[in-house]
Symmetry: C2
Subunit: 229 residues, 2 copies
DNA sequence: CCGCATCCGGGGCGATACTG
DNA sequence: CAGTATCGCCCCGGATGCGG
Protein backbone atom coordinates (compact mmCIF):
# COMPACT_ATOMS: atom_id res chain seq x y z
CA UNK A 1 0.00 0.00 0.00
CA UNK A 2 1.02 3.55 -0.52
CA UNK A 3 2.22 5.02 2.72
CA UNK A 4 0.11 7.75 4.25
CA UNK A 5 3.31 9.64 4.97
CA UNK A 6 2.02 10.91 8.26
CA UNK A 7 3.98 11.09 11.49
CA UNK A 8 1.18 9.51 13.49
CA UNK A 9 1.13 6.10 15.13
CA UNK A 10 -2.21 5.18 13.65
CA UNK A 11 -1.13 6.06 10.13
CA UNK A 12 2.17 4.24 10.59
CA UNK A 13 0.35 1.12 11.76
CA UNK A 14 -1.98 1.28 8.79
CA UNK A 15 1.00 1.53 6.46
CA UNK A 16 1.86 -1.97 7.64
CA UNK A 17 -1.49 -3.71 8.13
CA UNK A 18 -3.97 -1.40 6.39
CA UNK A 19 -3.84 -3.10 3.04
CA UNK A 20 -6.80 -5.05 1.88
CA UNK A 21 -6.53 -8.73 2.98
CA UNK A 22 -3.60 -8.13 5.32
CA UNK A 23 -5.47 -8.56 8.58
CA UNK A 24 -7.30 -11.61 7.29
CA UNK A 25 -3.95 -13.17 6.44
CA UNK A 26 -2.85 -12.50 9.99
CA UNK A 27 -6.05 -14.10 11.23
CA UNK A 28 -5.27 -17.30 9.34
CA UNK A 29 -1.72 -17.36 10.68
CA UNK A 30 -3.03 -16.74 14.20
CA UNK A 31 -5.07 -19.94 13.99
CA UNK A 32 -2.16 -22.18 12.90
CA UNK A 33 1.03 -22.18 10.87
CA UNK A 34 0.06 -22.18 7.22
CA UNK A 35 1.17 -23.18 3.80
CA UNK A 36 0.54 -20.69 1.02
CA UNK A 37 -2.52 -22.72 0.04
CA UNK A 38 -3.86 -22.84 3.58
CA UNK A 39 -3.91 -19.07 3.72
CA UNK A 40 -5.60 -18.86 0.35
CA UNK A 41 -8.29 -21.23 1.59
CA UNK A 42 -9.27 -18.65 4.18
CA UNK A 43 -9.33 -15.80 1.67
CA UNK A 44 -11.62 -16.79 -1.18
CA UNK A 45 -11.45 -14.26 -3.97
CA UNK A 46 -7.92 -13.04 -3.37
CA UNK A 47 -5.74 -12.96 -6.45
CA UNK A 48 -2.80 -15.29 -6.21
CA UNK A 49 -0.21 -12.69 -7.11
CA UNK A 50 -1.74 -10.34 -4.57
CA UNK A 51 -1.38 -12.90 -1.81
CA UNK A 52 2.24 -13.42 -2.78
CA UNK A 53 2.79 -9.68 -2.61
CA UNK A 54 1.13 -9.41 0.80
CA UNK A 55 3.29 -12.21 2.17
CA UNK A 56 6.37 -10.38 0.97
CA UNK A 57 5.17 -7.17 2.60
CA UNK A 58 4.26 -8.81 5.89
CA UNK A 59 7.53 -10.69 6.15
CA UNK A 60 9.47 -7.55 5.24
CA UNK A 61 7.62 -5.71 8.02
CA UNK A 62 8.51 -8.42 10.52
CA UNK A 63 4.91 -9.43 11.11
CA UNK A 64 5.16 -12.93 9.58
CA UNK A 65 8.02 -15.19 8.59
CA UNK A 66 8.69 -18.15 6.34
CA UNK A 67 10.28 -21.29 7.67
CA UNK A 68 10.87 -24.87 6.72
CA UNK A 69 9.02 -27.35 8.84
CA UNK A 70 10.77 -30.60 9.80
CA UNK A 71 10.03 -33.61 7.59
CA UNK A 72 7.70 -35.04 6.49
CA UNK A 73 6.29 -31.58 5.77
CA UNK A 74 7.62 -30.60 2.36
CA UNK A 75 6.10 -27.19 1.74
CA UNK A 76 7.46 -24.06 3.38
CA UNK A 77 5.25 -22.66 6.09
CA UNK A 78 4.37 -19.18 7.28
CA UNK A 79 3.88 -18.15 10.88
CA UNK A 80 3.48 -14.98 12.90
CA UNK A 81 6.53 -13.44 14.49
CA UNK A 82 6.49 -12.11 18.02
CA UNK A 83 5.69 -8.70 16.61
CA UNK A 84 2.84 -10.19 14.63
CA UNK A 85 1.43 -11.89 17.70
CA UNK A 86 1.57 -8.62 19.57
CA UNK A 87 -1.02 -7.37 17.13
CA UNK A 88 -3.62 -9.96 18.16
CA UNK A 89 -5.08 -8.12 21.16
CA UNK A 90 -5.88 -5.30 18.76
CA UNK A 91 -7.65 -7.67 16.41
CA UNK A 92 -9.62 -9.22 19.26
CA UNK A 93 -10.78 -5.74 20.19
CA UNK A 94 -11.98 -5.21 16.63
CA UNK A 95 -13.81 -8.53 16.71
CA UNK A 96 -15.63 -7.48 19.88
CA UNK A 97 -16.55 -4.18 18.29
CA UNK A 98 -17.93 -5.85 15.18
CA UNK A 99 -20.00 -8.41 17.06
CA UNK A 100 -23.29 -6.52 16.52
CA UNK A 101 -22.82 -7.19 12.82
CA UNK A 102 -22.81 -10.92 13.49
CA UNK A 103 -26.01 -11.38 15.46
CA UNK A 104 -28.36 -12.27 12.64
CA UNK A 105 -26.25 -15.21 11.55
CA UNK A 106 -24.55 -15.56 8.18
CA UNK A 107 -25.95 -14.11 4.98
CA UNK A 108 -26.63 -16.63 2.24
CA UNK A 109 -23.69 -15.23 0.29
CA UNK A 110 -21.30 -15.44 3.25
CA UNK A 111 -18.34 -17.74 3.28
CA UNK A 112 -17.87 -19.69 6.49
CA UNK A 113 -14.93 -21.46 8.05
CA UNK A 114 -15.63 -23.21 11.29
CA UNK A 115 -12.14 -22.50 12.57
CA UNK A 116 -12.89 -18.80 12.71
CA UNK A 117 -14.80 -19.32 15.92
CA UNK A 118 -11.47 -20.00 17.59
CA UNK A 119 -10.59 -16.39 16.88
CA UNK A 120 -13.86 -15.21 18.37
CA UNK A 121 -13.29 -17.37 21.43
CA UNK A 122 -10.02 -15.58 22.07
CA UNK A 123 -11.78 -12.26 21.63
CA UNK A 124 -14.60 -12.92 24.08
CA UNK A 125 -12.82 -14.89 26.79
CA UNK A 126 -10.90 -12.02 28.29
CA UNK A 127 -10.64 -13.07 31.90
CA UNK A 128 -10.36 -16.37 33.76
CA UNK A 129 -12.17 -16.51 37.09
CA UNK A 130 -9.98 -18.00 39.79
CA UNK A 131 -12.18 -21.04 40.35
CA UNK A 132 -12.08 -21.92 36.63
CA UNK A 133 -8.35 -22.54 36.65
CA UNK A 134 -8.72 -26.00 35.10
CA UNK A 135 -11.28 -26.71 32.39
CA UNK A 136 -11.41 -28.21 28.92
CA UNK A 137 -14.13 -27.36 26.43
CA UNK A 138 -14.76 -28.60 22.92
CA UNK A 139 -16.68 -26.42 20.47
CA UNK A 140 -17.78 -29.31 18.31
CA UNK A 141 -18.64 -29.14 14.63
CA UNK A 142 -18.55 -31.45 11.63
CA UNK A 143 -15.25 -29.97 10.50
CA UNK A 144 -12.55 -28.18 12.44
CA UNK A 145 -13.73 -28.49 16.03
CA UNK A 146 -12.06 -26.10 18.42
CA UNK A 147 -10.65 -26.93 21.82
CA UNK A 148 -10.52 -24.41 24.64
CA UNK A 149 -8.12 -25.58 27.32
CA UNK A 150 -7.65 -23.76 30.60
CA UNK A 151 -4.73 -24.89 32.65
CA UNK A 152 -3.26 -23.02 35.56
CA UNK A 153 -5.68 -20.24 34.80
CA UNK A 154 -4.25 -19.78 31.29
CA UNK A 155 -6.35 -20.19 28.18
CA UNK A 156 -5.08 -22.02 25.13
CA UNK A 157 -7.18 -22.31 21.99
CA UNK A 158 -6.32 -25.01 19.47
CA UNK A 159 -7.80 -26.43 16.32
CA UNK A 160 -8.80 -30.02 16.79
CA UNK A 161 -8.35 -32.47 13.97
CA UNK A 162 -11.86 -33.89 13.59
CA UNK A 163 -12.53 -36.88 15.86
CA UNK A 164 -9.07 -36.59 17.33
CA UNK A 165 -10.80 -35.58 20.48
CA UNK A 166 -10.54 -38.07 23.26
CA UNK A 167 -13.81 -37.14 24.86
CA UNK A 168 -12.63 -38.58 28.13
CA UNK A 169 -10.45 -35.52 28.57
CA UNK A 170 -13.21 -33.02 27.88
CA UNK A 171 -15.19 -31.37 30.63
CA UNK A 172 -17.73 -29.66 28.38
CA UNK A 173 -18.81 -30.29 24.79
CA UNK A 174 -20.84 -27.68 22.93
CA UNK A 175 -22.73 -28.67 19.79
CA UNK A 176 -25.02 -26.68 17.55
CA UNK A 177 -25.04 -24.14 14.74
CA UNK A 178 -21.89 -22.09 14.58
CA UNK A 179 -23.57 -18.75 15.05
CA UNK A 180 -25.37 -20.04 18.13
CA UNK A 181 -22.02 -21.05 19.54
CA UNK A 182 -20.79 -17.57 18.71
CA UNK A 183 -23.77 -16.04 20.47
CA UNK A 184 -22.90 -18.09 23.53
CA UNK A 185 -19.32 -16.85 23.56
CA UNK A 186 -20.28 -13.21 23.02
CA UNK A 187 -22.92 -13.27 25.72
CA UNK A 188 -26.01 -12.78 23.60
CA UNK A 189 -27.15 -16.23 24.62
CA UNK A 190 -26.63 -16.24 28.34
CA UNK A 191 -29.64 -18.12 29.66
CA UNK A 192 -28.78 -20.78 32.17
CA UNK A 193 -30.46 -23.52 30.20
CA UNK A 194 -29.24 -24.69 26.79
CA UNK A 195 -30.89 -22.55 24.16
CA UNK A 196 -32.93 -24.26 21.48
CA UNK A 197 -30.46 -25.63 19.00
CA UNK A 198 -27.52 -25.53 21.34
CA UNK A 199 -26.46 -28.69 23.16
CA UNK A 200 -24.11 -28.26 26.10
CA UNK A 201 -22.95 -31.56 27.52
CA UNK A 202 -20.83 -32.29 30.57
CA UNK A 203 -20.90 -32.72 34.30
CA UNK A 204 -23.13 -30.24 36.04
CA UNK A 205 -20.27 -28.61 37.89
CA UNK A 206 -18.14 -28.25 34.76
CA UNK A 207 -20.98 -26.60 32.90
CA UNK A 208 -21.50 -24.20 35.77
CA UNK A 209 -17.87 -23.15 35.65
CA UNK A 210 -18.04 -22.86 31.86
CA UNK A 211 -20.91 -20.42 32.19
CA UNK A 212 -19.04 -18.49 34.81
CA UNK A 213 -16.13 -18.25 32.39
CA UNK A 214 -18.38 -16.79 29.72
CA UNK A 215 -20.03 -14.39 32.15
CA UNK A 216 -16.62 -12.89 32.95
CA UNK A 217 -16.71 -11.00 29.64
CA UNK A 218 -18.21 -7.57 29.78
CA UNK A 219 -18.64 -5.44 26.66
CA UNK A 220 -17.26 -2.50 28.68
CA UNK A 221 -14.35 -0.25 27.87
CA UNK A 222 -16.65 2.46 26.63
CA UNK A 223 -15.36 5.91 25.89
CA UNK A 224 -17.27 8.72 27.55
CA UNK A 225 -19.24 11.20 25.53
CA UNK A 226 -16.74 14.06 25.64
CA UNK A 227 -14.20 14.55 22.92
CA UNK A 228 -11.40 12.12 23.64
CA UNK A 229 -12.92 11.80 27.08
CA UNK B 1 -15.09 -1.21 -0.07
CA UNK B 2 -16.13 -4.49 -1.44
CA UNK B 3 -17.37 -6.69 1.36
CA UNK B 4 -15.24 -9.71 2.16
CA UNK B 5 -18.44 -11.71 2.42
CA UNK B 6 -17.12 -13.74 5.30
CA UNK B 7 -19.06 -14.71 8.41
CA UNK B 8 -16.24 -13.64 10.70
CA UNK B 9 -16.17 -10.76 13.12
CA UNK B 10 -12.84 -9.49 11.90
CA UNK B 11 -13.95 -9.47 8.27
CA UNK B 12 -17.25 -7.82 9.19
CA UNK B 13 -15.41 -5.11 11.05
CA UNK B 14 -13.11 -4.51 8.12
CA UNK B 15 -16.11 -4.20 5.83
CA UNK B 16 -16.96 -1.08 7.81
CA UNK B 17 -13.60 0.49 8.67
CA UNK B 18 -11.14 -1.34 6.40
CA UNK B 19 -11.28 1.14 3.55
CA UNK B 20 -8.33 3.35 2.88
CA UNK B 21 -8.58 6.62 4.87
CA UNK B 22 -11.51 5.47 7.01
CA UNK B 23 -9.61 5.08 10.27
CA UNK B 24 -7.79 8.37 9.75
CA UNK B 25 -11.13 10.09 9.34
CA UNK B 26 -12.21 8.56 12.63
CA UNK B 27 -9.00 9.82 14.20
CA UNK B 28 -9.80 13.38 13.15
CA UNK B 29 -13.33 13.12 14.51
CA UNK B 30 -12.00 11.67 17.75
CA UNK B 31 -9.96 14.79 18.31
CA UNK B 32 -12.87 17.21 17.85
CA UNK B 33 -16.07 17.74 15.91
CA UNK B 34 -15.12 18.63 12.36
CA UNK B 35 -16.23 20.48 9.32
CA UNK B 36 -15.63 18.77 6.00
CA UNK B 37 -12.56 20.93 5.51
CA UNK B 38 -11.21 20.17 8.96
CA UNK B 39 -11.20 16.49 8.15
CA UNK B 40 -9.53 17.09 4.82
CA UNK B 41 -6.83 19.10 6.57
CA UNK B 42 -5.83 15.95 8.44
CA UNK B 43 -5.80 13.80 5.32
CA UNK B 44 -3.53 15.50 2.79
CA UNK B 45 -3.72 13.76 -0.54
CA UNK B 46 -7.24 12.40 -0.24
CA UNK B 47 -9.48 13.12 -3.20
CA UNK B 48 -12.44 15.27 -2.32
CA UNK B 49 -14.98 12.95 -3.86
CA UNK B 50 -13.42 10.05 -2.03
CA UNK B 51 -13.77 11.84 1.30
CA UNK B 52 -17.39 12.58 0.52
CA UNK B 53 -17.96 8.92 -0.24
CA UNK B 54 -16.26 7.83 2.99
CA UNK B 55 -18.42 10.18 5.03
CA UNK B 56 -21.51 8.70 3.44
CA UNK B 57 -20.29 5.19 4.23
CA UNK B 58 -19.36 5.98 7.82
CA UNK B 59 -22.63 7.73 8.55
CA UNK B 60 -24.57 4.90 6.92
CA UNK B 61 -22.70 2.46 9.13
CA UNK B 62 -23.57 4.47 12.22
CA UNK B 63 -19.96 5.32 13.03
CA UNK B 64 -20.22 9.07 12.38
CA UNK B 65 -23.08 11.52 12.00
CA UNK B 66 -23.75 14.95 10.57
CA UNK B 67 -25.34 17.64 12.64
CA UNK B 68 -25.94 21.34 12.65
CA UNK B 69 -24.07 23.19 15.33
CA UNK B 70 -25.82 26.02 17.13
CA UNK B 71 -25.13 29.53 15.83
CA UNK B 72 -22.83 31.24 15.12
CA UNK B 73 -21.39 28.11 13.50
CA UNK B 74 -22.76 28.02 10.00
CA UNK B 75 -21.21 24.93 8.49
CA UNK B 76 -22.54 21.45 9.19
CA UNK B 77 -20.31 19.37 11.43
CA UNK B 78 -19.44 15.72 11.71
CA UNK B 79 -18.91 13.82 14.94
CA UNK B 80 -18.52 10.26 16.10
CA UNK B 81 -21.56 8.37 17.28
CA UNK B 82 -21.49 6.22 20.39
CA UNK B 83 -20.69 3.26 18.17
CA UNK B 84 -17.85 5.17 16.62
CA UNK B 85 -16.43 6.10 19.99
CA UNK B 86 -16.56 2.45 21.01
CA UNK B 87 -13.98 1.85 18.32
CA UNK B 88 -11.39 4.11 19.92
CA UNK B 89 -9.91 1.59 22.37
CA UNK B 90 -9.12 -0.56 19.35
CA UNK B 91 -7.35 2.32 17.62
CA UNK B 92 -5.38 3.12 20.75
CA UNK B 93 -4.20 -0.49 20.80
CA UNK B 94 -3.04 -0.12 17.21
CA UNK B 95 -1.20 3.08 18.09
CA UNK B 96 0.64 1.29 20.90
CA UNK B 97 1.54 -1.53 18.53
CA UNK B 98 2.90 0.85 15.92
CA UNK B 99 4.97 2.88 18.36
CA UNK B 100 8.27 1.18 17.35
CA UNK B 101 7.77 2.72 13.92
CA UNK B 102 7.77 6.19 15.47
CA UNK B 103 10.98 6.14 17.49
CA UNK B 104 13.31 7.70 14.94
CA UNK B 105 11.19 10.80 14.59
CA UNK B 106 9.47 11.96 11.43
CA UNK B 107 10.85 11.34 7.96
CA UNK B 108 11.49 14.44 5.90
CA UNK B 109 8.53 13.55 3.70
CA UNK B 110 6.19 13.05 6.65
CA UNK B 111 3.24 15.28 7.27
CA UNK B 112 2.79 16.39 10.87
CA UNK B 113 -0.14 17.73 12.83
CA UNK B 114 0.59 18.64 16.39
CA UNK B 115 -2.89 17.63 17.48
CA UNK B 116 -2.15 14.00 16.70
CA UNK B 117 -0.22 13.73 19.93
CA UNK B 118 -3.53 13.98 21.74
CA UNK B 119 -4.43 10.66 20.18
CA UNK B 120 -1.15 9.14 21.30
CA UNK B 121 -1.69 10.49 24.80
CA UNK B 122 -4.96 8.60 25.02
CA UNK B 123 -3.21 5.49 23.78
CA UNK B 124 -0.37 5.52 26.28
CA UNK B 125 -2.12 6.76 29.39
CA UNK B 126 -4.03 3.61 30.19
CA UNK B 127 -4.25 3.75 33.93
CA UNK B 128 -4.52 6.50 36.53
CA UNK B 129 -2.68 5.84 39.79
CA UNK B 130 -4.85 6.61 42.81
CA UNK B 131 -2.65 9.44 44.03
CA UNK B 132 -2.79 11.19 40.66
CA UNK B 133 -6.51 11.81 40.88
CA UNK B 134 -6.15 15.52 40.19
CA UNK B 135 -3.61 16.87 37.72
CA UNK B 136 -3.53 19.18 34.71
CA UNK B 137 -0.81 18.96 32.07
CA UNK B 138 -0.21 21.01 28.96
CA UNK B 139 1.68 19.52 26.05
CA UNK B 140 2.77 22.83 24.64
CA UNK B 141 3.61 23.58 21.03
CA UNK B 142 3.49 26.54 18.68
CA UNK B 143 0.18 25.38 17.26
CA UNK B 144 -2.50 23.17 18.72
CA UNK B 145 -1.28 22.60 22.26
CA UNK B 146 -2.95 19.69 24.03
CA UNK B 147 -4.32 19.65 27.53
CA UNK B 148 -4.43 16.52 29.66
CA UNK B 149 -6.80 16.98 32.55
CA UNK B 150 -7.25 14.43 35.29
CA UNK B 151 -10.15 15.03 37.58
CA UNK B 152 -11.62 12.51 39.97
CA UNK B 153 -9.19 9.99 38.52
CA UNK B 154 -10.65 10.40 35.03
CA UNK B 155 -8.56 11.56 32.09
CA UNK B 156 -9.87 14.09 29.59
CA UNK B 157 -7.79 15.14 26.60
CA UNK B 158 -8.68 18.36 24.81
CA UNK B 159 -7.22 20.51 22.09
CA UNK B 160 -6.23 23.90 23.41
CA UNK B 161 -6.68 26.96 21.28
CA UNK B 162 -3.20 28.45 21.22
CA UNK B 163 -2.50 30.75 24.16
CA UNK B 164 -5.96 30.14 25.56
CA UNK B 165 -4.19 28.38 28.36
CA UNK B 166 -4.41 30.12 31.65
CA UNK B 167 -1.12 28.86 32.93
CA UNK B 168 -2.24 29.43 36.48
CA UNK B 169 -4.46 26.35 36.15
CA UNK B 170 -1.73 24.12 34.85
CA UNK B 171 0.28 21.84 37.11
CA UNK B 172 2.80 20.73 34.49
CA UNK B 173 3.85 22.22 31.16
CA UNK B 174 5.86 20.14 28.70
CA UNK B 175 7.72 21.86 25.89
CA UNK B 176 9.99 20.48 23.21
CA UNK B 177 9.99 18.70 19.85
CA UNK B 178 6.85 16.75 19.24
CA UNK B 179 8.53 13.40 18.87
CA UNK B 180 10.36 13.91 22.15
CA UNK B 181 7.02 14.54 23.80
CA UNK B 182 5.79 11.37 22.16
CA UNK B 183 8.78 9.45 23.47
CA UNK B 184 7.94 10.69 26.94
CA UNK B 185 4.35 9.48 26.69
CA UNK B 186 5.30 6.08 25.28
CA UNK B 187 7.97 5.49 27.89
CA UNK B 188 11.04 5.52 25.68
CA UNK B 189 12.20 8.62 27.51
CA UNK B 190 11.72 7.73 31.12
CA UNK B 191 14.75 9.22 32.83
CA UNK B 192 13.92 11.23 35.89
CA UNK B 193 15.58 14.37 34.59
CA UNK B 194 14.32 16.31 31.60
CA UNK B 195 15.93 14.87 28.51
CA UNK B 196 17.95 17.19 26.33
CA UNK B 197 15.46 19.14 24.30
CA UNK B 198 12.54 18.46 26.59
CA UNK B 199 11.49 21.06 29.13
CA UNK B 200 9.17 19.94 31.90
CA UNK B 201 8.01 22.79 34.10
CA UNK B 202 5.92 22.75 37.23
CA UNK B 203 6.02 22.25 40.95
CA UNK B 204 8.27 19.41 42.03
CA UNK B 205 5.40 17.37 43.45
CA UNK B 206 3.26 17.80 40.34
CA UNK B 207 6.09 16.66 38.11
CA UNK B 208 6.62 13.63 40.30
CA UNK B 209 2.99 12.64 39.97
CA UNK B 210 3.13 13.30 36.23
CA UNK B 211 6.02 10.85 35.91
CA UNK B 212 4.16 8.33 38.00
CA UNK B 213 1.23 8.68 35.62
CA UNK B 214 3.45 7.93 32.64
CA UNK B 215 5.13 5.02 34.39
CA UNK B 216 1.74 3.35 34.84
CA UNK B 217 1.77 2.33 31.18
CA UNK B 218 3.27 -1.05 30.48
CA UNK B 219 3.67 -2.38 26.94
CA UNK B 220 2.28 -5.73 28.20
CA UNK B 221 -0.65 -7.73 26.91
CA UNK B 222 1.68 -10.02 25.02
CA UNK B 223 0.39 -13.21 23.46
CA UNK B 224 2.34 -16.32 24.38
CA UNK B 225 4.28 -18.23 21.79
CA UNK B 226 1.78 -21.04 21.22
CA UNK B 227 -0.80 -20.83 18.48
CA UNK B 228 -3.58 -18.64 19.83
CA UNK B 229 -1.98 -19.23 23.24
C1' DC C 1 -0.34 -30.61 -6.01
C1' DC C 2 1.96 -26.49 -4.50
C1' DG C 3 3.86 -21.88 -5.09
C1' DC C 4 3.90 -18.66 -7.43
C1' DA C 5 4.29 -15.37 -12.22
C1' DT C 6 1.81 -13.50 -16.05
C1' DC C 7 -1.88 -11.40 -18.49
C1' DC C 8 -5.92 -8.76 -18.84
C1' DG C 9 -10.54 -6.03 -17.93
C1' DG C 10 -12.75 -3.05 -14.30
C1' DG C 11 -12.99 -0.12 -10.65
C1' DG C 12 -11.18 2.36 -6.78
C1' DC C 13 -8.03 5.96 -6.07
C1' DG C 14 -5.24 10.44 -6.82
C1' DA C 15 -5.27 14.96 -8.79
C1' DT C 16 -7.54 18.84 -10.55
C1' DA C 17 -11.34 21.66 -11.99
C1' DC C 18 -15.74 23.35 -11.13
C1' DT C 19 -20.38 24.73 -8.95
C1' DG C 20 -24.01 26.27 -5.49
C1' DC D 1 -17.11 26.02 2.46
C1' DA D 2 -19.03 21.66 1.03
C1' DG D 3 -19.11 19.06 -1.85
C1' DT D 4 -19.72 17.17 -7.34
C1' DA D 5 -17.55 16.12 -11.90
C1' DT D 6 -14.05 14.38 -14.81
C1' DC D 7 -10.08 11.92 -16.19
C1' DG D 8 -5.87 8.86 -16.06
C1' DC D 9 -3.69 5.38 -13.73
C1' DC D 10 -2.71 1.80 -11.04
C1' DC D 11 -4.25 -1.60 -7.95
C1' DC D 12 -7.23 -5.32 -7.56
C1' DG D 13 -9.93 -9.49 -9.05
C1' DG D 14 -10.14 -13.50 -11.99
C1' DA D 15 -8.17 -16.75 -15.06
C1' DT D 16 -4.43 -19.22 -16.91
C1' DG D 17 0.18 -21.10 -17.16
C1' DC D 18 4.24 -23.40 -15.48
C1' DG D 19 8.26 -24.93 -12.94
C1' DG D 20 9.46 -27.64 -8.78
Amino acid sequence: MRSYQQYCGLARGLDVIGDRWSLLIIRELALRDCRYTDIRDGLPGIASNLLAQRMRDLTAAGVAERFDAPPPIAAPLYRLTRHGRDLLPTLFALVRWAQPLMVGGPEPSDIERNRWIAFAARAFITEIPVDVAELTILLDQPSEPVRLGISNGILTVTLHAASESNEKLLDVVVRGPLWYQLGLLSGEISGTKPEGLLDIAGRRDAIRRFRKLLAAYRPGDRVRSGVLG
